[in-house]
Amino acid sequence: MYLAVHSDDSSDATGRLLLVARVSRVGDLEINQDLDLERREWKARNVANVLLGLALVAAALGLFGSGVLSDASVKSDGASFAVEYDRFLRFGAPATVHVELTSGNDEANVSLSRSYLEQFDIRSIKPTPESVTALPDRLVYTFKYQPPARVDFNLLPRHIGRQRATVIVDSDDAATFSQLVYP
């Protein structure tokens, strides 16, 4: 099906051998067709159609963010708060982490690990914290509240890959979770 010919380029002094397709003949038609390749393509196409359908269903269910498979929550070790988050995020797509404060007095210090926050842009925090304190390993947000209350951190992922977070409330109760950010 292929034949090797010398390069006919007069500027090419190396006399390279080039592989060119020998043109086949079907009846009066000179044509290169590869029916084996066409049959293999057809089989690959059928498999691909199934995979594409499954990928679409998975996307609808939230495997790539925003859906049933992505919704998750975790209770703190001491059960004083819970965190609702998305398991799967997409780079550059806004995401919210909800911290549900279920017990305690009228002021809470909610901290997020610095290593987690460095992977995100913080778009907004609701309600607005009374103060923010920067510690070596975390940022501490102080809120006035009456339980049960919810604090929303609206974030924008800026790095892809697995991101692990530790949420600590009032220095004595913690919850950890991880998220996967798709490119």
Binding site: Y2, L19, V20, A21, V26, G27, D28, L29, I31, N32, Q33, D34, L35, L37, E38, R39, E41, W42, A44, R45, A48, L52, G92, P183
Partner: protein, 146 residues
């Protein structure tokens, strides 16, 4: 590096997706095929540029796509098997007036599709006036009159 990686990823995804979806999807058979391609290009643009709308970023993306495309052309020219894998080959649908029904079924091409091309390009009226009909690599159907 980021715009280059984005461009490579989107190029690879589109190449594999359209290669596997069949030749006809690129031939814009119906109005909706054209609309679909326009929508795909819109979605692609957002992924390629992200939130960086600078001229520099646009140039990097365009440069990456052109270089990759040229590289693919060069690889196809240097390796005909790779070229066939990348671009496919032409397939004869009608040979000496006889339809290859199995191939047409696998390629999802109907007799109507062939007659439409025959009328458009050759002014042919009937199937028995067609000697050869070939599905070309770009999804177009070429007709050789009897």
């Amino acid at each position: 590096m980021d715009p280059i990686l984005r461009s490579l990823a989107v190029y690879a995804f589109l190449l594999i997706l359209f290669r596997l979806s069949g030749k006809r999807s690129l031939a814009q058979i119906t109005t909706f095929d054209l609309i679909l391609l326009l929508i795909v290009s819109e979605a692609t643009q957002q992924a390629l540029l992200g939130d960086d709308f600078s001229i520099t970023n646009a140039c990097i993306v365009i440069l990456t796509l052109v270089v990759v495309d040229r590289t693919m052309d060069l690889a196809s020219a240097m390796s005909p098997p790779f070229g066939r894998l990348l671009n496919g080959t032409a397939v004869i649908l009608i040979e000496n007036g006889e339809q290859h029904a199995g191939r047409m079924r696998r390629l999802r091409i109907s007799t109507d599709d062939i007659l439409e091309q025959a009328r458009t390009n050759q002014g042919i009226e009937r199937l028995d006036q067609i000697k050869y009909a070939v599905l070309e690599r770009n999804g177009a159907i070429s007709v050789v009159p009897a």
